[in-house]
């Protein structure tokens, strides 16, 4: 299973004199942004959403340690997320109300530890193989664990799951962690620590060997490394971070449920990571934010959001296999050479017909849905604030024309944009 993605890991700072700011600047900026976000998006929903995004960022990044960095496609990553969450919940319930001196913000360590332990156990089994066989073993393990979760009713709490109360912990600095905003900062801190740690791992020799195992396992063996050991270590570490994410999710929602380690959750993390971009460290972060947001909000807009979601995913796999982050990374050389303003107009030129084509397609989908599924509501519907009747042929003709013309123009404009892009890059090469 060879993966032809080139990793964009910034080179280690070779310049010893590189200042403190250049090296840690990005993390300081990230911390300031995280601290300021709740002041910009202050509604209860926004804070809850950002809390969920934080846990998902850790989860998706930990998954990318497997898929993106080491080339291992796993279908059971939610197992570690879930087990981490359950053990965190049990640990918290065990000390709740007692005079235990462990404050709340240390409990995600329990999740991480659990993730690591199970990562070692299941990793020892599954990383003997790579490629499709590895994917199938993870699928089997995921099925076994989620089935056992239903049978072990006392530990996993049956259908209703395990509930906990995060305010029952010993309070430090007067933080009760009752208000969601305090939990947000807890998650933000842990998110920052985890992201930094995972980034640091990619920069170590171990991180590089993982990339090598992904790209050319035979050569790695020739130079004296055991690829199985490398896969095993990557798997265990990724379990560790997934467990931290799970622990934070348990604290955030104050409930853990066996659905949280099911096949659906494992599928969601694949979507996040891939849509964000597996070839770039920032990809899964973008993916976690975008996908979580769409999962929560798109359902307000349309009932068939999963169809759009599937189409988006297939489109990404076909035309943008490096994900959203890959698309952004393409612009980097343009920025460096200050050529972006030459290309940007072409992007807009391509974007407009693209939007027209998408609106035509979604009009067809929504009209079909109105006629096929929402028959009780009748053929009258509203799209883009424009009311019309889905029974008459006119809207169908308009939709098809929108789609066809939009697609045609988009393809032409995309070609122009591509030309402009390569021309702008060629500029750079001139002296």
């Amino acid at each position: 299973m060879s993966q032809k993605t080139d990793m964009k890991i910034p080179a280690l700072p070779s310049d010893k004199r590189s200042s403190f700011l250049a090296r840690f600047g990005i993390w300081i900026v990230a911390a300031i942004v995280l601290a300021g976000l709740p002041y910009v998006f202050s509604s209860g929903l926004a804070v809850s959403t950002m809390c969920m995004m934080g846990t998902m960022i850790i989860f998706a990044l930990s998954y990318n340690m497997l898929l993106g960095q080491t080339g291992l496609l796993s279908f059971g990553h939610a197992v570690f997320f879930g087990l981490g969450g359950f053990l965190t919940a049990w640990a918290m319930n065990a000390v709740a109300g007692t005079s235990s001196p462990v404050p709340l913000f240390l409990f995600p360590i329990m999740g991480g530890f659990t993730g690591l332990v199970f990562g070692i156990i299941f990793g020892a089994v599954s990383t003997k193989r790579s490629g499709t066989a590895f994917a199938m073993i993870t699928l089997g393990i995921a099925e076994l664990v989620s089935s056992s979760a239903l049978i072990l009713r006392h530990f996993f709490g049956g259908e209703e799951g395990i509930t906990l109360d995060r305010t029952d912990m010993v309070q430090v600095l007067g933080l009760s962690f009752g208000p969601q905003i305090q939990v947000y900062y807890l998650i933000a801190v842990w998110c920052l620590i985890s992201v930094a740690a995972m980034y640091a791992i990619t920069c170590t020799p171990f991180g590089r060997i993982c990339n090598a195992v992904r790209d050319n396992p035979e050569r790695v063996r020739f130079i004296g490394y055991n690829t199985q050991t490398v896969r095993f270590m990557a798997f265990s570490l990724s379990g560790l971070f997934a467990g931290i994410g799970g622990g934070l999710a348990a604290i955030n929602f104050e409930i853990m449920n066996s659905a949280q380690m099911g096949v659906g959750e494992s599928g969601a993390v694949i979507l996040m990571t891939y849509i964000g971009g597996i070839g770039n460290f920032a990809g899964p972060i973008i993916g976690a934010i975008v996908v979580t947001y769409l999962q929560l909000m798109l359902s307000d807009v349309t009932d068939v959001w999963q169809l759009y979601f599937g189409l988006l995913f297939i489109g990404m796999v076909m035309y943008a296999p490096r994900g959203l982050a890959g698309l952004l990374a393409l612009q980097q050389p343009l920025l460096q050479t200050r050529q972006l303003h030459h290309v940007a107009p072409y992007y807009i030129l391509a974007l407009l017909p693209g939007l027209v084509a998408i609106s035509g397609l979604s009009m067809v989908i929504e009209m079909t849905y109105q006629l096929a599924v929402k028959t009780a509501a009748g053929p009258a519907m509203v799209f883009f604030y424009i009311p019309f009747n889905a029974n008459s042929p006119l809207p169908w003709i308009i939709a098809v024309i929108l789609f066809a013309v939009g697609t045609w123009l988009f393809l032409r404009a995309a070609r122009l944009a591509g030309d402009a892009y390569s021309q702008a890059l060629a500029w750079r090469k001139l002296p």
Partner: protein, 316 residues
């Protein structure tokens, strides 16, 4: 005891052959194209719904012929305009492409046929009981499914082992350039193979639809059991898939017949205290209770101890 063993054997064989019917297309596609089609169950579902729709208007037998043809057409379009495009991004991209396809097919089916089960009936010509053993009747339709399954197995074996087409297809997998230079259109070969593979899934859908439940979530609920069959048998081995289907069918059916738990064998739990409280559930679980989970255990064990599967030829 003899009675339950005898009945279990019949049930196990019938179920195993139904599994093979569903999984045969998956193993065909994998053995010839090297692609594990995660959307296989979705094509199976499409087959069931097309079969249902055609049965309404033209009868079951027309459905059995036309539904697989339609699905084969859809499959070939997917291969031509999707999968082939993704192929150059590697195997992970191919797996993910078929993964995305499952969402789209499910939503489209929901839009066309709704989310509730449809009333897909066994055809009147096969709606009688074939034989009765120990007061248990076996419907003719199940015997029909078994026959179709065996016929498909033999036909596939013949085509792959004994015909020129099979030879070209297998050569195209390992040496596509060479086959291309010999004047064969490799792309078209792959397109046809994918079409045949999903058509087999559709045949399974048309036949299993009336026996099971024809509903828009049937693909998801079938779950990964088909991958278990294909992997346990040895990826890409048709004979292996056949043996594995029977094995899984029999294991699962026999397991249901036995109500033995660890507690029955070793007495009550040796542990005490809190740990025992939580592990008690596991200690008292009977073999029958976990029967449908056993295939997954088999999957993990096989991949650890015999990675190429029961009858696989390589370690791909």
């Amino acid at each position: 005891m003899f009675e339950i063993l005898f009945i279990s054997t019949i049930n196990g064989v019938l179920y195993g052959m139904l599994l093979f019917l569903m999984a045969s297309g998956l193993t065909v596609i994998f053995s010839m194209m090297g692609v594990l089609n995660l959307a296989h169950a979705s094509f199976y579902m499409l087959g069931a719904f097309f079969g249902f729709e055609i049965t309404l208007h033209m009868g079951f037998w027309a459905g059995l012929v036309f539904a697989p043809l339609i699905v084969a057409g859809i499959g070939m379009v997917v291969e031509r305009y999707g999968l082939r495009h993704v192929h150059r991004h590697g195997h992970v991209a191919e797996l993910l492409f078929t993964f995305g396809l499952t969402f789209v097919i499910q939503e489209v089916v929901e839009m066309v046929w709704g989310k509730l089960p449809v009333d897909y009936r066994v055809p009147a010509s096969l709606d009688f009981s074939a034989f009765t053993v120990f007061a248990t009747t076996y419907p003719a339709f199940k015997i029909f499914a078994l026959l179709v399954s065996v016929v498909i197995f033999l036909a596939l074996l013949m085509v792959i082992r004994r015909t020129r087409i099979g030879l070209i297809v297998q050569a195209a997998l390992s040496h596509p350039d060479m086959v291309g230079m010999l004047g064969h259109n490799v792309d078209r070969v792959f397109m046809l193979v994918f079409g045949v593979g999903v058509a087999l899934a559709a045949v399974a859908g048309v036949i299993a639809g009336p026996v099971l439940v024809t509903q828009s979530n049937m693909a998801g609920l079938l779950g990964p059991i088909l991958f278990v069959v294909v992997v346990v048998g040895g990826l890409g081995s048709l004979g292996g898939a056949f043996v594995a289907s029977l094995l899984i069918g029999l294991v699962q059916t026999y397991a249901v017949a036995f109500n033995i738990s660890l507690a029955d064998v070793f007495g009550s739990s040796p542990l005490s205290g809190d740990v025992a409280f939580y592990l008690d559930d596991l200690w008292n679980v009977t073999v029958a209770q976990v029967a449908p989970i056993l295939p997954y255990l088999l999957l993990v064990l096989i991949l650890i101890f015999r990675p190429r599967g029961l009858m696989g030829t390589n370690n791909r």
